[in-house]
Amino acid sequence: MKRATTDSWVVRYLLIGFMLAFILIFLVFPVCVILIEALRRGLAFYFSALSAKHSISAIRMTLTVAAIVVPLNTIFGVCAAWAITHFKFPGKSLLISLIEIPLWVSPVVGGLVFALIFGRQGWLGTWLETHQIQILFALPGIVLATAFVTFPFVARGLIPLMQAQGSAEEEAALTLGANGWQLFWRVTFPKIKWGVLYGMILCNARAMGEFGAVSVVAGSVDDKMTMPLQIENYYQALGPGGLPRAFALASILLLLSVITLAIKIGLEWRSLAPHTVRPIKPVSPH
């Protein structure tokens, strides 16, 4: 067998070694530190730290926010990708760029925008106060900020996927009498389902981990904090037990990430399985 490269074995092992060292120092080591620090004071302390009132409320808040934001952005992403790939309208390429705004803007700026709109001194502040609607420093504000940050994840993955697949099967379904609903669920969705799930997973990972945008709108109200905020809060708190508490909660966030990663790997493996690979259609010389 002929080797693809002519690099000597020294270069190869140096490169592989360098990469492994890099991964160890920057990825594996921090993960180990989290686990070691979380368990430093023993299992009993670990579980009491996790069952503390503020830890529980933070875990609940993070899961609630993800449970609202992920479906919301999934629906939006699928609709946007559908509209962009199946309809012709002016300003389409601008719209594709607009969807990506949250990726280019710092999350803190995103959070500040919501603070400006809904804050006490903000545009809607007085109106909200007279109607006793709490958006900032509460669940709605956190959901809005998280939704902003995770906005592009589903749409951005689906648009190129759906553009590459084209509309031929959809057109065939139309001539066979399928209505829009049947068209989507029977023809389009089976083609894009792995892309949708992949986008949801990325969206979920980011939603659970977001710090910057959420920290602006959540303020410092103890029971209105997400896990990243509560970790920071524990870490900043004076007195003994702050650090181990922070790491205990961080280990749960880590666990959620590991689960997400496992699902993502499973999906990639599943969507690369041979029977789902689409053959290239022959194109006739028209």
Partner: protein
């Protein structure tokens, strides 16, 4: 049922360029039970006309009639013209059986046949296209000619009023092409389903069709029986295109 288009015009907007007229004032009637060929060089607008008849493309001007009914304002899914696409457009994730059954499964609840009736109808069509033992295959496991026949069976399953075929043999090799051509002619003689097919191959058009429409630059150049076209070409384009 006859199909007619009357004074159809269509332009395509291309960014940064002048709108290119694809069809200019095209009027045409396919008579009931007729097999008509739209013959012309690529880019002459014949596929666009076929897509306008099916409702997949909207004409800027003009009307489309299925029999006496004006379907100009109706969507593709209301017109339900049987359409066979150039690259077949089979549903890649469905088996041959499910592809053919699709049109029956999406019928409104009251008109939808039960599972048994669907299986029977699909079975008949599988026999017709001689793919009885391929019903569980996926499109990717079929040859080009087999895909073509599945696409045809899928279009026929809902008993369309008209059959539209876009370069039906374009992607096939010569042998399969000849066999399918014969098969389609035979099928047409049995059913007399009003059919319109697009091709750039004059042998195909002349061998298959009852009448041939010669198309160039978005206009009909001449309509006639194959023999008429060869004997009396209407203009220089037709003469040059047919090399007579």
């Amino acid at each position: 049922m006859s199909v007619a288009v009357s004074h159809i015009s269509k332009r395509f907007e291309t960014r940064g360029q002048r709108a290119v007229p694809a069809l200019r004032d095209v009027s045409l009637e396919v008579q009931t039970g007729e097999l008509l060929a739209l013959l012309g060089p690529s880019g002459s607008g014949k596929t666009t006309l076929l897509r306008i008849i099916a409702g997949l493309e909207i004409a800027d001007e003009g009307q489309v009639f299925f029999g006496q009914e004006d379907v100009t304002e109706k969507s593709a899914y209301a017109r339900k013209a049987g359409f066979v696409f150039q690259a077949y457009a089979l549903f890649q994730h469905m088996t041959v059986f499910e592809n053919i059954a699709f049109g029956l499964r999406v019928l409104p609840w009251k008109k939808r046949p039960n599972a048994e009736a669907i299986a029977k109808r699909v079975g008949e069509l599988l026999t017709l296209i001689q793919l009885e033992d391929h019903e569980k295959r996926l499109p990717s496991q079929l040859s080009g000619g087999q895909r073509q026949r599945v696409a045809l069976a899928r279009a026929l399953a809902v008993e369309p009023r008209v059959l539209l075929l876009d370069e039906p043999f374009g992607a096939l090799d010569a042998k399969v092409r000849r066999d399918l051509r014969k098969w389609l002619r035979h099928f047409h003689e049995q059913t007399h389903l009003t059919s319109l097919f697009v091709t750039h191959d004059q042998d195909e058009a002349f061998e298959l069709a009852d009448r041939v429409v010669i198309f160039n630059e978005g206009r009909i150049q001449q309509i006639g029986l194959p023999s008429e076209l060869r004997q009396n070409p209407a203009n220089d384009f037709v003469r040059a295109f047919l090399e007579v």
